[in-house]
Amino acid sequence: MAQAERPDGPAGAPAPTEPAAAESAVALAAAAPVLAARGIGKSFAGVHALRDVDLTLRPGRVHALVGENGAGKSTLIKVLTGVHRLDTGRIELAGREREFRTPLEAQRAGVSTVYQEVNLVPMMSVARNLHLGREPRRRGLLDLRRMHREAAALLLRYGVDTDVTRPLRELGLGAQQMVALARAVQVEARVVVMDEPTSSLEPREVDTLFSVVRDLTAHGTAVVYVSHRMDELYALCDDVTVLRDGRAVHTGELAPLARRDLVGLMLGRTLLAARERAARQVPDPGARPALRARGLSVRHRVHGVGFDLHRGEVLGLGGLLGSGRSETAKAVVGALGADAGTVEVDGRRLARRSPAAAVRAGVVLLPEDRKAEGIVPGLSVRENIVLAALPRLSRAGMVSRARQDAVVETFMARLRIKAASPDQKVADLSGGNQQKVLLARWLCLAPKVLLLDEPTRGIDVGARAEVRALIDELAADGLGVLLISSDPEELTAGADRVLVLKDGAPVDELTGDRVTPDDLLAALAHETRPGAGDEKTDDEKNGARR
């Protein structure tokens, strides 16, 4: 086992002292590149995803890869790691030219990857996922006991305290992301590639991740880091390559580059000055809420959550990973069988609890896991956008092409969806654009209440600003919006009120002046004091930040 042979590897000590990391980084800055890609080109059925891209990775340095949605970041990574074969260009690993035909070959050569979408096996146990393909063996057979022991201990360091024999799918997406990360870092790798690893993490996990990355670089590993979160990039990365429309438009050290300029390079234009948030009028508490949930309970997950959501209001739902936010949202639309609770829309109680009934009533949910629950991958962009609105766009069951095209055009323009044409398969879009397609699917229904579960997950800075502006705009138009986000900044900036959940139960509500990141963090932290089960959480924290 890798970590057994390397007792002080990243898994063993994820949080070295800062100075050591800095020192080694300086020492290694001038070292020979561990991986050098030259003139990489890749096209899909006529679409140029990458053109003549160079990338140089040096040991002990974190290389940021940034760009708009669809700029080609994930494609570049997939080419480097053997998922796609490159059309042009060459890749040198430690001075030797290599071409990886499969991810396995890349892994064997020391290039380890955390892909953008969580790519694990949901039905297998957490421990199995962590060890797949390199399980510890005894006398030829798998050593299950050791596997479980090691997995539990390893994950504890990543802040995931769970029974590792449970199926992975029972974990929240964030926890799954941590498992994927632990898995990738576990092998002895010369290059570790992370494609938006933090998109479903919240601050505590992000800290854990940072310490893992720093530890990796301290040991001379080169890290490629993709993220749309500027703060993270500046906190963590040494170098940067900016991709735009499949070309590398800038490469160099990150620190000297001002944020503004970086964003400008990515977008090819300057970002609009941060919009002043429109002063929304506080809804009349006596008015009938657009959505009223009472006593929602889902076995073991959600316990008696209730809230009122008024027209024109953005209600935030805060909480740590696994606090039951996603489940709450799903219970509201009837996608999860709730054990108890009622949901009223405009004062009318929803009798039948199914997503279809909720959609008819005007309550729609943008799910957090867009791959598994959002897109219909085989259908085109057009068909995905109009999927839910079809009955309204057709006459006597027959689809009207013209009305459909009008809607599709409007929303592709309004959300700036970047696709070769409306006929392109959604599966072939970049992650961010897929998210926009899903938003378009709901907006063309003109819903009353919009439940957004991590709406900016994997969306680039430009688009993120657009989505935020859009949320404001929608609220101003009289929509009720429930916003779930793991980014405290985003949550507090976007929401008028924030309901804080812990272990599936509401513990606090932030209103007025208290809607700030600090108050949110305090609310989360505060709630971890009392109670027996919470000591464990403290331990986790210590484990992670030791």
Binding site: V121, L132, G533
Partner: protein, 334 residues
């Protein structure tokens, strides 16, 4: 990993709420086929005289033990999200090859020839599915036709029947009740070990759970997929050979429709047809359950004619899968 790593806490906090009763319920759900089987055997022993006699149980076990091996191979195939429709034909082919070889070259040939042909045939399936990426349903449907065709070709369109010589030691493999049962049990045991305690088994399950992820994780996806079909075809051929030893001849018409029974058994045993979740133990419960059900229907409905037997059979199968699906309901989200 530091050896002093603390032992993991048993469950996440959220799950602490699970009561003992719920755990028991979950356990029963997970072993639905076993539960139904236990209930059925209990009821049958009380209400159907002679059901529990050693003769009857021996008849159920001894005559079906080899056929059950088809379900064992299929368990692996289905776990990868594939399917193998050729097992019934391969079973017949194995029997004919074994009898033919026993007639001519003796016991060892009778054992080895079917194994070799099964492995070769399975290899073709595997390559077409894993490398040429053709749909397993179709490849193995073609296999079903092809194997039957081959067996008719070597028996002069079914006119020749090859007999295992009376004195041949090969016959001993299939005689009585306990030899077949022990052989099958041993193979099932090995299968369980292969599935749960080897990398091959882990990869098999992973492919069914998420093939794309398995590829990205660097697992040997193509090789494992191919091997699973080799395993299934080889097992089916071996089962046929052993069946031939039991019947004393290579019966050319045997095995028709066995694939569907085997698939039903695997699925009743709790293995998901979409792959990724299932167990050999479940399959054992599945094959036993189906055999017991057939035996009971035979005992109680035979005198009413085939139509009634078929109707009851179908109804019972529907009831069993429905019961199982409903039991499982709580387990699945959505």
């Amino acid at each position: 990993m530091t050896p002093t790593a603390p032992a993991p806490t048993a469950t996440a906090p959220a799950l602490g709420a699970e009561t003992a009763a719920e755990r028991l319920a979950a356990r029963i759900q997970r072993h639905g086929a076993l539960t139904v089987l236990a209930l059925l055997v209990l009821l049958a022993s009380v209400f159907s005289p002679g059901f529990a006699s050693t003769d009857n149980l021996g008849a159920i076990l001894g005559n079906n033990a080899f056929v059950w091996l088809l379900a064992l191979g299929l368990t692996f195939v289905i776990l990868t999200g594939g399917i193998d429709l050729s097992v019934g034909s391969m079973y017949a082919l194995g029997g004919v090859l074994a009898a033919w070889a026993a007639e001519r070259y003796g016991t060892w040939a009778a054992l080895l020839l079917p194994l070799a042909v099964g492995a070769g045939w399975g290899c073709v399936h595997g390559l077409l599915i894993a490398r040429a990426r053709t749909a397993p349903f179709i490849v193995t449907l073609a296999g079903l036709l092809g194997a039957r065709g081959l067996l008719q070709l070597i028996t002069d369109e079914g006119a020749d029947t090859h007999l295992v010589p009376r004195g041949s030691a090969f016959r001993a493999l299939g005689e009585g009740t306990w030899t077949p049962v022990l052989i099958s049990a041993a193979l099932f045991g090995l299968g369980a070990l292969l599935l749960t305690r080897t990398r091959f088994g882990a990869t098999t399950t992973a492919i069914g759970g998420n093939e794309h992820a398995a590829t990205l994780m660097g697992l040997p996806v193509a090789r494992t997929k191919a091997l699973v079909y080799v395993l299934s075809a080889t097992l089916a051929c071996a089962a046929g050979a052993l069946g031939g030893a039991r019947l004393g001849s290579g019966v050319t018409t045997v095995g028709v429709g066995y694939e569907l029974t085997a698939i039903a058994a695997v699925v009743i045993g709790g293995t998901l047809l979409t792959g990724g979740s299932g167990s050999v133990g479940g399959t054992v419960a599945g094959v036993l359950l189906l055999s017991v059900v057939h035996n009971l229907i035979d005992r109680s409905a035979s005198q009413y004619g085939s139509a009634v037997t078929d109707t009851v059979n179908g109804g019972f199968l529907a009831a069993v899968v429905l019961a199982q699906a409903l039991l499982n309901r709580g387990r699945r989200d959505e």
